[in-house]
Symmetry: C2
Subunit: 344 residues, 2 copies
């Protein structure tokens, strides 16, 4: 039983905590928060032990939120920490909290690659993370792109290059102060965007260029993916590979799927917790193939896509060697569609 | 003096009418509308003679809007009609109104290519339209793509292929009943989108694939353009070509341009009528070049981009043979940036 703590209880942290509590081989020791807000109340109501910075214990107690101790105490009780703090805080925590303790850490993609020994995606490089002390789960868009690349590489289909054009959701649903409202922002105004660099932090030799805009939507990112293979490939082959790759879901517009909003209405209807869709969602009819070239459109749920990767990263750190078994365990626990799924 | 009438006074029609009235070699005889709404009032207040269907003359007169006669009378008084009616109405008008009269017609991109002898873009194929009777100005996104392709072809730079990924504005500002609100719609859910087909209606031999989504913005379309040339090309060469091609404006994000909203604020500040930006707006720092490959991001003002093309199409129909002079006349009359412009 791996004892895990989660530092940070925002969009990613709360989901990782929920996912950990569903694993048979993990125990969620507690979660750490710095502010006594409604999210802290939710954590306690869910039965999660709440740990806070020593100097804030009084603040939390004054608001009536029950805490279980200081973050130092949490750190003493765990084997692995998932650091889900905002970008840039993880590296500070590493220096101040983790470095001098016997604890392994999973960082998030908001940190720079140098924070960890390796950047991680379960399909792409689970093996490289086995037994490591520090690992960084790459961010949402990068995770989605790595899954697509891995789908082909794992099936011995050589890629010459990949170009991805991303319409990013402007903000997460709770981020009321972020834009854009009714605008399209070049995010960044240069090409390539950082996503290409980040993909290379996991698969260094891939020829990739990415470009991104931000749009007034909080639901999901949307990717135009442009693949060039080293040899000709058929539509059937591509569809078959995507169908059978874990964490890639293929939906059919002939069954009515034509928008991102529909995807989340569907996720509600099938009872997905929080309406999360941690799989890459590829629109079947968008897949276009001509000789060595393929195009497709996919949606990426920024809030949940990295959750399965965090769970696998924990297992890899603790020395669990069976990549595919870890992926299966994780996906089953989260009720993801398993291999061979097709919706519609 | 070419006598011109405009049928339809919506987003395109009203702008074409304004543009015609600014040409030294054209006379705006009148505009035709079917509904006595605020747009009809504006037309009359601008001094445009208003023509309406015979059976609606009484309706207009009852609302106090001054009309100058029936559409039949307008048709008798003009050499050229610009049909700016909604998609599909133009072909009906051709059968019922134009066919049996001595009148030349410019149709819009909402009509199918078969409505006219040729589909038209001034840079791409002005010459082919000279002296024709029916011409179709392709729609906004197609116009933008054709200008980019033409910029290179006119400079003897051979293109191997072009792939364009379009984030379409969901609706024009006045179209309150169209979506999406806070959603991303695959528009269409298949690849290629119709834009590739439409580009080929002007340049048949180009290898082009396009894909499009609709987003909750009314300002402009945004294109990710992916060009593959037959030979290696430098960034400087590409920038130079775009700078000197009419109707392509290059803006610099180092001067603060990072969003579509900023473009239109700028257009207001420099006094552009209606804030229109009929040029392709290419973001300078987005241009990425690697050997034979180039990527760039451009904005496309859907309401105004085809206006210069409509004016040139009128000239071509009437037998005006000097393409570049027509383009210059048009652009000067509309206060567009002329050759060699760079903003920032």
């Amino acid at each position: 039983m791996v004892r895990v703590g989660v530092i940070g209880f925002g969009t990613i942290g709360k989901r990782v905590a929920d996912a950990i509590s569903k694993q048979e081989d993990m125990e969620l020791i507690g979660v750490a928060k710095t502010r006594p807000d409604y999210k802290a109340v939710v954590a306690v109501e869910k039965g999660y032990r709440l740990y806070v910075p020593k100097e804030r214990i009084e603040l939390f107690e004054n608001t009536g939120i029950k805490i279980s101790g200081s973050i130092d105490e949490l750190l003493d009780r765990v084997d692995v920490i998932v650091d889900a703090t905002p970008g840039g805080v993880g590296i500070k925590n590493k220096e101040e909290l983790y470095k001098h303790r016997d604890v392994k850490v999973v960082f998030q993609g908001g940190e720079k690659p140098g924070v960890a020994e390796i950047s991680f995606n379960a399909l792409a490089n689970y093996e490289e993370a086995i037994g490591k002390r520090y690992v960084r789960v790459v961010s949402c868009n990068t995770t989605a792109i790595l899954r697509i690349i891995s789908a082909f590489l794992l099936n011995n289909i050589a890629l010459e290059k990949i170009r991805v054009f991303i319409a990013r959701r402007g903000a997460d649903p709770h981020e009321y102060s972020r834009g854009p409202i009714h605008d399209v922002v070049l995010d960044p105004p240069t090409i390539p965007s950082h996503h290409a660099v980040d993909v290379k932090s996991v698969i260094p030799k891939i020829d990739i260029v990415t470009s991104a805009i931000a749009i007034p939507v909080t639901l999901a990112h949307l990717h135009f993916v442009h693949l060039t293979f080293k040899e000709g490939i058929s539509l059937d082959k591509i569809v078959d590979i995507l169908y059978k790759t874990p964490r890639i879901l293929v939906v059919e517009s002939t069954k009515g799927f034509k928008s991102v909003g529909q995807l989340f209405e569907w996720a509600k209807d099938i009872g997905r917790y929080r309406n999360d869709i941690p799989e890459n969602i590829v629109f079947r009819e968008s897949i276009y193939v001509s000789n060595r070239e393929a195009l497709l459109i996919m949606a990426v749920h920024q809030e949940s896509i990295v959750i399965p990767e965090n769970i696998d990263a924990i297992r890899a750190l603790t020395g669990y060697t069976d990549k595919w078994d870890s992926i299966k365990k994780t996906d089953r626990s989260l009720n993801l569609f398993m291999e061979g799924k097709v919706y519609g």
